[in-house]
């Protein structure tokens, strides 16, 4: 039996194939550039597995002698994240209001709102924390303010987008009835953005819980201070206890936030 000659089939046209190979080559070139010029001491790289193994062997077993201090620092971290999220939520409301195209009073306030959102979002919490530790001194206040500053941008952006996507009919209906501006906001806009508001606030609380675990490393309070202390004194067994505590905190935060999301939404 003679073999049936199949028509040559190709997934890509020659141009597409050329583009693909070009992209692959470009990617490879960029990676090679990065790998070739990055300032790495290769001896340290080959030594890394041994060093990591050594470090982990020093970490076990976790040392629970300072567990009470760790737990109280953990609670402080939770409080820090919660208070900062609450304050940020309150402050984000007016920002979202002026950053949404359909509610902002005029073009100037729109740009002001957008400027606040962009500058808040583009600077990382840790960098904010560096600044506020320099201003307020080491401690939880710097941490609270840092988290607040970062969260306003996040909350304001998402809330502002929710405001822009509302159904305009209730607003028009209330305006047609002669409702005051305040009442239009309260009865036509607020109910429509309420679900987003809670979803975003809970999401940000979860993120802030994670971020507040590292604020202590730059001196801004919480569990990170204890971690830094343990690392500085080479107390690796305590370091592993703190790390386990942080995992427990983050997992617990995720459980709480997913429970709240299900209950409220």
């Amino acid at each position: 039996m003679e073999q049936v000659q199949l028509h040559d089939w190709a997934r890509y046209t020659p141009v597409q194939r050329f583009q693909r190979y070009g992209l692959f080559a470009l990617t490879a070139l960029v990676v090679a550039w990065a790998l070739g010029s990055v300032n790495i001491i290769w001896a340290w790289v080959w030594d890394a597995p041994t060093q990591m193994g050594d470090l982990f062997s020093r970490m076990v077993p976790p040392d629970p002698t300072h567990l009470d201090q760790i737990l109280s620092a953990l609670w402080e971290t939770v409080n820090l994240a919660t208070i900062a999220t609450a304050l940020a939520v309150v402050l984000a409301l007016p920002v979202a209001y002026i950053a949404a195209q359909n509610t902002t009073p005029n073009a100037l306030t729109l740009w002001l709102g957008r400027f606040i959102l962009v500058s808040s979002r583009s600077v990382n919490t840790i960098i904010w924390a560096l600044l506020f530790v320099a201003i307020f001194g080491p401690g939880v206040v710097a941490g609270i303010v840092a988290i607040m500053f970062r969260s306003i941008g996040f909350l304001g952006k998402l809330l502002g987008e929710a405001i822009e996507e509302i159904d305009p009919k209730p607003v028009e209906a209330l305006k047609a009835c002669g409702a005051s501006h305040f009442k239009v906001v309260l009865y036509a806009i607020v109910p429509q953005v309420m679900p987003t508001f809670f979803a975003v606030a809970i999401l940000r609380w979860d993120i802030n819980l994670r971020e507040s675990t590292v604020l202590g490393l730059v001196g801004a309070g919480g569990i990170g201070m204890i971690l830094q202390g343990a690392i500085d004194t080479f107390n690796w067994q305590e370091v592993s206890t703190v790390l386990l505590a942080i995992i427990a905190l983050v997992v617990a935060g995720e459980i709480v936030s997913s429970y709240l999301r299900r209950r409220i939404l």
């Binding site: 960029v30 990055v38 300032n39 402080e76 208070i83 990382n124 401690g139 309260l186 994670r210």
Partner: protein, 264 residues
């Protein structure tokens, strides 16, 4: 004729009044006790305003005099981000397969999920500190940190994508007697590649942001330059660095968004 109520009130958010006022009271008690118990040094905070004045006074105008240092720091951040993204994406593929319920047996699934949870639980700064202690200061620690960070995010979303694939091709391959690896390559990979590329581009952007931060604890890149400038009270240079970071992040966000829109 019954008299209609002439006032209307918005329905309360929580119907049960006991629960509603209980919740309000609980919130007030929580806020008051927290503020009372947090170790806050009010005197020190009162000095904050004058200190802020000094810092901002020193920060204006931003100084771009040492722009070589700034550019070097940025190129290093970029290299860290690129290498970490490549490493993270390659490593996240097997881990994502391990964490996809429809591909692997249950014990392997738990191992895969555990890796992802651990990688996600630690903020990159904590991971960076550990790696800096283990492998020394510099970009290598930063690359390792961001690889862990990338795994936590990319592997999680990729695993979710794998769990959502169309099982038809997989069954067809199995029915034709294909071994496990061939099934993965020919039935699963084509279904997840697009998502993986999108995730990779997103992660590159995200790693560039994060590399600005991990440098603060000694893991190389622009963050190290920023932390040094801040530590030496060079507030004008620190402001210049921060402004450049913000600019680069905005550009990279726009570029990554545009690319993802095109391939989606």
């Amino acid at each position: 004729m019954s008299t209609a109520k002439d006032t209307w009130r918005k329905r309360p958010f929580i119907a049960n009044p006991l629960l509603r006022y209980g919740l309000y009271a609980a919130i007030v008690v929580y806020v008051v006790t927290t503020f009372a118990t947090l170790p806050i040094d009010w005197d020190r905070i009162a000095q904050g305003l004058s200190r802020a004045g000094r810092i901002f006074g020193g920060a204006f105008p931003p100084s771009f005099q040492r722009s070589e240092l700034l550019i070097d720091g940025f190129l290093e951040s970029l290299k860290i981000a690129i290498l970490a993204t490549v490493g993270g994406i390659i490593l996240s593929i097997p881990i994502a397969f391990m964490a996809a319920r429809n591909i692997v047996p249950l014990p392997v699934f738990y191992v895969g999920r555990a890796i992802i949870i651990i990688a996600r639980s630690f903020h990159p700064v904590i991971v960076a500190i550990i790696f800096v202690k283990a492998v020394g200061f510099g970009p290598f620690a930063g690359i390792l940190t961001l690889i862990v960070y990338s795994i936590g995010f990319v592997a999680k979303l990729l695993a979710e994508r794998i769990e959502e694939i169309d099982p038809g091709p997989v069954e067809a391959m199995k029915a034709a007697g294909a071994p496990f690896l061939s099934t993965l390559i020919y039935a699963v990979f084509p279904q997840i590649m697009q998502r993986q590329i999108g995730l990779g581009i997103y992660q590159l952007d995200s790693n560039l942001r994060a590399s600005a931060v991990v440098g603060i604890v000694g893991a190389g890149g622009i963050g190290a330059t920023l932390a040094n400038a801040f530590g030496r009270y060079d507030y004008d240079f620190a402001l210049a660095i921060t402004m450049v970071i913000v600019g680069v992040i905005l550009i990279s966000e726009a570029v990554s968004g545009a690319i993802r829109k095109r391939i989606a």
